[in-house]
């Protein structure tokens, strides 16, 4: 499989995963959105140098990934590109905050290091929670519930349309790339001198295709905003999920569980 086809499989992977039938998939999308939001608030609310307290929050993805039967590798692959940006943000703490807190095997551990590690932890946990939400809830349902919860409709539709456009761009790219390789035997990719025309044509073709898709949407009543069928009501299981899980987050936020455990055993 060529690299461009692998990219396409990745683009559609989350949508395929979201069609699953695990217990987590069957929960109401609104319940999952609310719990994910509570998780993000809990994680982000920790002080800037908190490291140990965040460890408890690894339990959430660690439990939900197997429960949702989601393969962990694709989620981690999606997490990795975000980490360098996060690390860049954390580096400023390393450079400017050099107050030594303690020594670990002779190496001074500064509050800047703690802050950097905390940033990486928070970012990793937050991105993983959102990826889990995307992997267990179809995009259409997420956008319907987001609108139902009064998120700005324009932003929600923008996200949905951007996702659709990326898929369309990939489909056109694969067709063009395949045609290119069939007429360039021995080449492993697009030659540098062909890259410009290739990308230009790809853009033109994708715009043309997007226009045709837009016409099809308009012919079926699209008037600038996605309409959705009315949502189903929340079930007792959903209400239990919404009330119990954020309760656990609150407990872990207020009680430094790893420190407590460490205190018991040391």
């Amino acid at each position: 499989m060529s690299s461009i086809q692998k990219v396409g499989r990745e683009i559609y992977l989350m949508e395929r995963l979201a069609q699953g039938t695990s217990a987590l998939h069957c929960l109401h999308p609104r319940a999952k959105i609310v719990v994910t939001f509570c998780y993000l608030v809990a994680v982000v609310s920790f002080p800037r140098t908190e490291v140990l307290g965040l460890v408890s929050f690894f339990l959430y993805p660690a439990i939900l990934i197997p429960v949702s039967e989601t393969p962990w590798k694709p989620l981690f692959r999606r997490l990795l590109p975000a980490l360098p940006f996060v690390a860049l943000g954390g580096i400023s703490n390393l450079l400017f905050d050099r107050t030594t807190l303690f020594f670990l095997w002779g190496v001074p551990v500064t509050s800047g290091m703690q802050a950097c590690l905390s940033i990486i932890e928070k970012a990793g946990l937050s991105v993983m929670a959102v990826l889990l939400l995307a992997a267990t809830t179809p995009l259409g349902e997420l956008s319907r519930e987001a609108k139902g919860m009064k998120f700005p409709g324009v932003l929600v539709d923008l996200v949905v349309l951007t996702c659709r456009y990326l898929g369309l761009l990939w489909e056109e790219g694969v067709t063009m790339y395949t045609a290119y390789l069939l007429r360039a035997p021995g080449e492993k990719g697009i030659r540098m001198r062909d890259a410009g025309p290739f990308l230009g044509n790809l853009l033109l073709r994708s715009i043309s295709r997007a226009e045709r898709v837009y016409r099809a949407m308009v012919c079926r009543g699209f008037a600038g905003e996605f309409g959705y069928c009315n949502s189903t009501p929340l079930k007792p299981g959903d209400l239990l999920f919404i009330s119990a899980v954020p309760g656990v987050f609150t407990f872990f936020r207020l009680v430094n569980f790893p420190l407590l455990l460490g205190g018991i055993f040391v």
């Binding site: 559609y12 069609q19 259409g140 016409r215 012919c219 009543g221 699209f222 189903t232």
Partner: protein, 247 residues
């Protein structure tokens, strides 16, 4: 159902694609729109659906004037099936594609589900709801594209080259399906055999104008007329001598 009087359709760059045509379509009068590439068949269908720039001349769909403020009503009456089903299947799953149209018109979920079940049952597509369009064969995509329009319960179906991308077996299934649909159909097609089989009336377009409009049985036997428009006799009539009938 459709009344067009001195209709002219122009592309945004000023190119006139449909030039001063007049025709009407009555309820139940299934009609084929034939012509060479570039004759204006697809453009006419898009124009009837109000997708192109505002038409010049008069255009009425079920008595509703085709002006901007009425487009929502008109598109509820007209179901346009595009030539390439990939342009029409743009949601994550077939089920979401089927829900898209009714949701835009505020139809309740229960009613939408009922319609979806009816349409899928009629098309024999019950197992395809949760599939993505990428996983479907050409024939299945065509059926899914038709289903997305049928679920909106239009009174008029506009079909653009419905038999393209289909193998003979799927083409035969399509003809069987279309002949059983109660909606009035306007079918733009190069498949003259399909036109002969499905449509009692044929409109022949050339360079954006109507060159002939009459009974399919007669018009499609006029070899000279067809050849003058870059067409040939339907395969089922090839080898037979046609009468020369000019408008």
């Amino acid at each position: 159902m459709i009344q067009a009087q001195n209709l002219t359709l122009t592309y945004p760059d000023g190119t006139v694609s449909i030039n001063d045509i007049t025709f009407s379509l009555e309820e139940g009068e299934d009609t084929a729109l034939i012509g060479a590439n570039g004759a204006g068949k697809s453009t006419l269908l898009l124009g009837l659906a109000g997708v192109l720039t505002a038409p010049e001349g008069a255009l009425f769909i079920r008595g509703i004037s085709c002006v901007k403020k009425n487009l929502s009503l008109i598109r509820r009456e007209l179901g346009l099936v595009f030539q390439n089903p990939d342009d029409q299947l743009f949601m994550a799953t077939i089920r979401e594609d089927l829900e898209f149209g009714p949701a835009n018109y505020g139809i309740q979920k229960e009613e939408t589900q009922k319609r979806i079940e009816e349409v899928l049952s009629r098309l024999g597509m019950e197992g395809l709801q949760e599939k993505t369009a990428q996983k479907l064969s050409g024939g299945e995509k065509r059926l899914a594209a038709i289903a997305t329009v049928l679920v909106m319960e239009p009174s008029i179906m506009l079909l653009d080259e419905p038999s393209s991308f289909l193998d003979p077996a799927n083409r035969r299934n399509l003809i069987r399906l279309l002949s059983g649909l109660p909606q009035t159909k306007l079918i733009a097609t190069h498949d003259l055999d399909l036109a002969l089989e499905l449509c009692p009336r044929v409109i022949l377009l050339k360079a954006g104008r109507i060159l002939a409009d009459g009974k399919g049985e007669e018009l499609l036997r006029d070899e000279n007329l067809l050849q003058s428009c870059g067409l040939e006799l339907p395969l089922s009539l090839a080898g037979t001598k046609g009468k020369c009938i000019k408008k």
